[in-house]
């Protein structure tokens, strides 16, 4: 229990660092102030992820997934409702365009944003563990049906642990609530926790 609590604290710290960097990168990109708040971080077993998403994300969702490998391997998934995704796009586009649906250029934009957030976070971990992590290109999936979503989550079975980050992003006047899942194997999860724990001790 104490170990799990410690893991959570470490993860929270990393999350704050990583998403702080993501906010900076997004600010530069949209040329406006971006704030990312993290009201909640969980660590859960992989079989809890699906019910959690179903419970939390009641509306149709947009999922941006990115695999990473290197020092640790895993997958990051960013999850927003479609409404939040559209708000995010309109906040980014500003006066240029006002969209009401997500089309291919929108998906491309969400990919870029997702890439920045996810890479920033995982890079923070990479920086802490002082080892390289390589990233694949992100992939955005618009939820089409529950079955499709279940199939998507089936792929998660190869993982054991999930770091769930509930985040609230403010871009211009828009508030975008979303979830980020970092999925790791037991081995990599504990590896990360151990290395991070050691690194933090050293730094203190």
């Amino acid at each position: 229990m104490a170990k799990e609590s410690r893991s959570l604290d470490i993860m929270k710290e990393i999350v704050n660092t990583g998403l702080g960097e993501a906010a900076d990168a997004l600010s530069r990109l949209v040329d406006s102030r971006v704030i990312i708040k993290v009201p909640d971080v969980h660590i859960m077993d992989i079989d809890q992820v699906m019910p959690y998403i179903k419970k939390e994300v009641t509306a149709l969702g947009v999922y941006i997934a990115q695999d990473f490998k290197g020092a640790v391997s895993g997958r990051t998934i960013l999850c927003y409702t479609q409404k939040c995704s559209i708000s995010l796009l309109n906040a980014i586009y500003g006066d240029k365009m006002n969209v009401t649906t997500i089309n291919e250029t929108g998906i491309s934009t969400l990919n870029e944003v997702g890439n920045i957030i996810m890479v920033s976070y995982i890079s923070a971990i990479s920086n802490f563990i002082d080892d390289r992590i390589h990233f694949d290109l992100p992939e955005t999936t618009l939820e089409i049906s529950e079955k499709y979503f279940e199939n998507l989550l089936d792929e998660l079975k190869e993982f054991d642990k999930a770091i769930v980050v509930k985040n609230l992003m403010q871009v211009k006047d828009a508030d975008i609530e979303g979830y980020m899942f970092v999925l790791l194997s037991f081995r990599d999860f504990h590896k990360v926790v151990e290395i991070l724990s050691n690194q933090l001790k050293k730094s203190k």
Binding site: T100, N111, H134
Partner: protein, 818 residues
């Protein structure tokens, strides 16, 4: 082999740009797609730094992505809407060279945990992006139209329509400024009615500070002239429409649509939509805005019609209200029905006359509320509404129609019904106008009675006048003969009988004359109460009837003919006595009353003395009550039928009124009114002397020679010389002759009326001219003639009523010659 094919397909056949750079940013692979689009061959770029080959990457700050990818092994993604492009590549689209919009992926490729190279994948998303952009624009425009159409459904005014519509249009980020110039129909004058958008303040500034503003609105004028949508682009039309584009010289104002808002035959104004497109606004967007303009035009037309309808409705309502107020205020009863005879309006007077309130009557059949019968037959009259609806003509009700109100009160009404027609002439209802003429009807009956009595009186008066003259000769001569020394007593008795009979005949003639037109009252201020009391006492003496006189208050004075009013009282009391053969009481009550304008009695408003003579007799049948004042009408066996007729005549001649009310076996009440005088002085009665002696000359003018002879004898006996003239001309001649002699007549007696010649009224005028001091007396049987009543006004010194009585002659001679 397979790997080679897949690699070839992935790198060369997917229409994407692929290039590889190593950790030194040197290009190691450059696929055909890139060669085609950049114009570089592999030889041109291989082993060269990407930043050297494509300097725009650094120039646009996109090198940071490459650096991060290489240094941190971070995959990077540059989305088209944010970055537009990575490499400066242009493509031809619609005959135009435009920048290729790209999605760029930077994928670090590692080997043994070490970055080997970075693959840069460039995808052309120009068509896709522009298509999506257009799709978004079209969708946004459609949304705008949908929202504005929603507004149109409920918007109450043109001003609010434009305010809201412009607000909605400004929600489109491309449509940054919208304004509407309205055109006044009467003057064709253009004025800025509504505007909205980012540049509102500048626009207002523009309006206020550009003196030749209207002249500069070239595009607006073109739209007005052609009635068609006009589109202009700053870049293309800046010379052609120089004034316009100088006026809208703002950075973002790159294109504009000027769309006429019009109906079939009326141009309401021009809607101006400023957009950010540098070049052609998409045809789809133009089409949609034209659609919107049509919708707005339709809405304005609808609002205009609505406004006109509201104005018309208000006018109609006002008109209806005015009509309603007028009808309610009108002095006649008005009922309007629909084409089925159902009441739709009932004014106040109609409410009072029918007993139905408008609220109760509306929707009911006219028969229910307007119940009319014949006054005499009591049978229901025809339904006027039905008749009007059937004939389409204006109709009037028959005479003697009585309206029976809801509470049973009957009123005689005069009525007319007319059709109400719509503008096509179709009958849509009926209006009944009626008035209560009950009082008028009574008055008319009264007037008819008066006229009847007057005509009878005229006839009777004519006969009585001649008869009177004849009687005058008989009585005068008999009286003269009786003054002579007659030895034969029998002859004297005969003469006395003749005189008595003549006196009776005279009384009858007097009565007839009094009833008719003769016997004008010689009025004097007297105490009416005393006169009534004495007259009643005199006539009731010896009768088995008790007369009680009650003076409710001190009576005002009245100017009356003593004898005539005495006769009235006597006649009424005699009537009462005769109606009570078994005896009883007669009550006479007097009071002062003020008669107002509202009185239906045929007398002038003012102060009157009211006298009630009430008996307890057998009463008068109602069928006789209307005729009791008719001359010669009597229900008594020995009655002359002149008593009440005379009473009526006397009261009328005094300016009063008499009426009777009676109930069989209960009694009759006669009520008469005489004009009273406030603070009148009562004259004392004078006694007359019965003998006179004098001398001098008297001229008598009369067409009756017998009368002359009688007067000649009478005046001779008194010591006067008498000359005779048959008419006025002869009288004037004689007077002239005597004047020339220097001895004019001491007295002239002129008959008022001389058939076929000059009578006394005109003769006196000439005589006065001849001799202003002439002393003349007017004589006539028509004592009601105005000349007789106002003799001094005509130049006479006295009156001598006919038949001539010796006492009257003596009285006149004494009053003038003594």
């Amino acid at each position: 082999m397979m790997e080679k094919i897949i690699k070839e397909i992935l790198l060369e056949k997917l229409s994407m740009g692929v290039l590889l750079i190593d950790t030194n940013y040197t290009i190691s692979y450059f696929n055909n797609w890139l060669q085609k689009h950049t114009g570089y061959t592999e030889n041109d770029v291989i082993n060269r730094s990407i930043f050297d080959v494509f300097p725009e990457i650094k120039k646009r700050g996109k090198d940071s992505y490459v650096l991060r990818c290489v240094q941190n092994s971070h995959s990077m993604l540059l989305s088209p809407l944010i970055h537009q492009y990575f490499l400066d590549l242009s493509i031809v689209r619609n005959d135009e060279n435009i920048q290729m919009i790209q999605e760029v992926k930077l994928l670090p490729i590692s080997k043994n945990n070490q970055l080997s190279f970075v693959m840069i994948i460039i995808k052309d998303l120009t068509e896709q992006t522009l298509y999506e952009k257009e799709l978004v624009e079209t969708k946004n425009t459609l949304n705008i139209i949908r929202k504005i159409n929603q507004i149109m459904v409920t918007v109450p005014s043109e001003a609010l329509l434009f305010k809201e519509a412009i607000k909605v249009m400004n929600e489109d980020t491309n449509t940054f400024f919208v304004w509407y110039a309205s055109i006044k129909e009467e003057t064709s004058q253009l004025s800025i009615a509504h505007y909205g958008g980012l540049e509102t303040e500048n626009f207002i500034h523009c309006m206020n500070h550009t003196p030749d503003f209207l002249e500069n609105l070239q595009l607006t004028q073109m739209a007005i002239e052609t009635g068609e949508c006009q589109i202009s682009f700053r870049k293309k039309d800046h010379i052609k429409l120089d004034k316009w584009w100088q006026l809208f010289n703002y950075y973002e104002c790159l294109s504009v649509m000027a769309i006429p808002i019009k109906s079939n035959d009326q141009l309401f104004g021009i809607l101006h939509i400023h957009r950010k497109e540098k070049y052609a606004i998409k045809a789809e967007i133009i089409y949609l805005y034209k659609e919107l303009a049509r919708d707005i035009s339709f809405c304005i037309e609808k609002l205009l019609h609505q406004k006109m309808r509201e104005v018309a409705e208000k006018k109609l309502k006002d008109e209806y209200e005015r009509l309603r107020v007028t009808l309610r205020g009108i002095g006649d009863g008005v009922i309007a029905t629909d084409s089925e005879g159902k009441v739709v309006l009932l004014n106040t007077i109609a409410e009072n006359l029918t007993g139905w309130t408008e609220q109760e009557a509306i929707g009911r059949n006219i028969d229910e509320t307007f119940h009319i019968i014949n006054e005499f037959t009591r049978k229901p009259c025809f339904n006027p509404v039905e008749k009007v609806l059937k004939t389409g003509k204006i109709i009037g009700l028959a005479n003697h129609t009585a309206l029976v109100s809801r509470d049973g009160i009957e009123r005689i009404i005069a009525d007319s019904g007319a059709p109400i027609r719509n503008d096509k002439g179709k009958i849509i209802g009926v209006v009944l106008v009626f008035r209560d003429i009950t009082q008028q009807s009574k008055l008319e009956k009264e007037m008819m009675k008066i006229q009847k009595l007057e005509s009878i009186g005229l006839l009777a008066g004519g006969i009585a006048h001649d008869f009177n003259n004849i009687l005058g000769i008989i009585t005068g001569n008999v009286q003269y003969a009786l003054t002579l020394d007659i030895k034969n007593p029998e002859f004297q008795d005969i003469l006395t009988d003749v005189e008595t009979a003549a006196h009776r005949a005279r009384d009858l003639t007097h009565q007839l004359l009094t009833f008719a037109s003769g016997g004008a009252p010689i009025k004097k201020m007297i105490s009416i109460g005393k006169l009534i009391k004495e007259s009643a006492k005199l006539v009731s003496r010896g009768a088995n009837v008790q007369v009680n006189y009650t003076e409710k208050e001190t009576l005002k004075s009245a100017a009356v003919d003593h004898g005539q009013i005495s006769q009235v009282v006597q006649n009424l009391v005699i009537n009462g006595i005769q109606s009570m053969p078994e005896g009883g009481n007669i009550v006479i009550e007097t009071s002062n009353v003020q008669i107002g304008k509202e009185s239906i009695m045929p007398i002038k408003p003012g102060l009157y003395i009211k006298v009630d003579v009430i008996d307890q007799g057998c009463g008068i049948a109602s069928k006789h009550l209307d005729r009791i004042f008719d001359p010669f009408f009597t229900t008594k066996q020995k009655g002359s039928g002149l008593g009440l007729a005379t009473v009526y005549s006397i009261i009328k001649k005094h300016g009063g009124h008499i009426k009777a009310a009676s109930e069989i076996e209960k009694g009759t009440t006669f009520t008469f009114f005489l004009p009273a005088i406030e603070n009148g002085q009562i004259e004392q009665a004078q006694k007359t002397k019965e003998s006179f002696k004098g001398n001098g000359k008297i001229l008598v003018m009369d067409d009756d020679e017998a009368l002359f002879r009688m007067l000649n004898r009478m005046f001779n006996n008194m010591g006067y010389e008498v000359h005779f003239a048959r008419h006025g001309y002869e009288a004037i001649d004689l007077y002239k002759t005597e004047m020339k002699k220097g001895v004019p007549y001491d007295l002239v007696i002129l008959d008022l009326t001389v058939p076929g010649s000059m009578g006394g009224k005109d003769t006196i005028k000439y005589l006065k001219e001849l001799h202003p001091d002439v002393k003349a007396v007017v004589s006539s049987g028509y004592s009601n003639d105005p000349v007789m009543a106002n003799y001094t006004h005509h130049g006479f010194c006295g009156v001598l009523p006919k038949p001539v009585e010796i006492n009257n002659v003596i009285h006149v001679l004494k009053s003038i010659l003594e």
